[in-house]
Subunit: 160 residues, 4 copies
């Protein structure tokens, strides 16, 4: 295996600041030998994939539609699932750990499902407040460090 | 068709008060000619299904596992999906409207996905605060009335 | 539970003879207290559902698309899965037994998956020859009898 | 993108001859710049992945279960789908072309679904006779050449 799968989730559109965080996260994931998993589209997903590619990493996109050509330009392996938003659950299940940046309803569905199924998830300036109780970090390097620590735990139990 | 599909979502364990609300909701769904859709297990799901059956309604359970025998005793049609928690996305997609009562991470994943995919969803004393912006009602009859109004709209656009 | 789920699978277009067989199978499933499960569309699916409704039965359709309105007119509960042809696997998994009539590639995928996952399947003049080794019957009543016998077995082991 | 996704499907146990064919196919897929997609387990899947790795290629496994550790030793990216045999449909959908070697019921389900959904599929000494009408080749190099030609076609229309 090429290293743990770390998913980066967030909106398909995002702010410049969110893109910067996502890019840094993608780069760090690649530098530390992990594989970037994401939904394969724009916004946070594209920024994270771009960061990972710039650092020579491997990027996997699980697309909602039937056409691999929908993937952003930094996706190495675009898997067209044809499952629509149900593919969110596939990302959560396949990931060894997950980092959420910004985000809307789709991202919230992924965070909640991750908590439900014990996929470790950390919020890096995610859009959700104290009502959504997840582990949080302020800096990309801390989010990636935490994610990789969690990914390497047997059973993947997290402490939020 | 036997009428719109109204999903009731909530925890597989719940308080006595939540069970009472769920039971009333199930009964009202049946009385008004709709079909109850749920995850087929215990807690809110079992209470809603029990209420629907008491009123002569039809109850459908989409189970996470491979064995239809896992369904609660009030489920008429138990569909074993074998998809684990990914079946939450199937409930959200198949429902014409959704009512959330109490709930934990699984329920939150369903609410968020419903908002993401435009399945109308109403919270009836759901466990989530103002951070989760959904339409809310205080009484079972109001929640069911709202759900049925939304279910009958072309395109299912909701006003939260 | 309203009785075992018996799936009827076959082409979305079919011959008049196939429709007659499917109609008889649907009627018999209903008469014997089982629930008809199918893909919800035309051809064999519509004929089977029509037969089941004529006998007062209950019919469930698992649709490939996102719109319940795509279901044929005899479907009581139309579940829009949005999973495309992946919904074939859902039919196979949820069914307690399966009857194949005529059919093309989609039907063959369901038969093969049923054999792979131990869902009992009987061919009633299915389109596949000796290369596809399944239990076969010549008459609708025999196919339904066999399917119901298999559906009631613990573990669902079949003898092909 | 790292090149087209070519799926290799076949039994999780296989003959020595089938393993040899699968190994050669995996090697050729890698040599020609494509990515190997498979079910991630043993038999034909393991032999194809081993061949691809020996040639420096990239290997993706879509596992039926929830644990990435179930993947064979030559899988670079193990995606645990938790969907059971339903993951066969995911392989078929994500692949740009598919090569079937030997095989049993699971493989037949994949071939049939590929034909149903227009994923180009070639049989390389597959276990199915003339009743299963797919394009066939005798040699690994011809099967891979055909698969890559099909994968590069717009729309992916095949001539069987």
């Amino acid at each position: 295996m090429k290293g743990p799968l770390v998913a980066v989730v967030g909106g398909s559109t995002c702010t410049a600041q969110e893109a910067e965080w996502a890019n840094a996260v993608g780069r760090l994931i690649a530098e530390r030998g992990a594989v970037l998993l994401c939904g394969g589209l724009g916004g946070v997903m594209a920024a994270a994939a771009s960061g990972a590619k710039a650092a020579g990493g491997l990027t996997i996109g699980l697309l909602p539609g039937n056409d691999a050509a929908d993937a952003n330009a930094s996706i190495d392996v675009a898997l067209a699932t044809g499952m629509g938003e149900m593919r969110n659950a596939l990302i959560v299940r396949a990931a060894h750990a997950m980092i959420a940046i910004g985000g809307g309803w789709g991202t919230l569905s992924e965070i909640a499902l991750a908590r439900r199924t014990n996929t470790p998830v950390v919020g890096l300036h995610d859009a959700f407040g104290a009502a959504v109780a997840i582990h949080r970090e302020e800096r990309p390097e801390d989010a990636v460090r935490w994610a990789l620590e969690q990914a390497s735990r047997p059973g993947g139990i997290m402490d939020a």
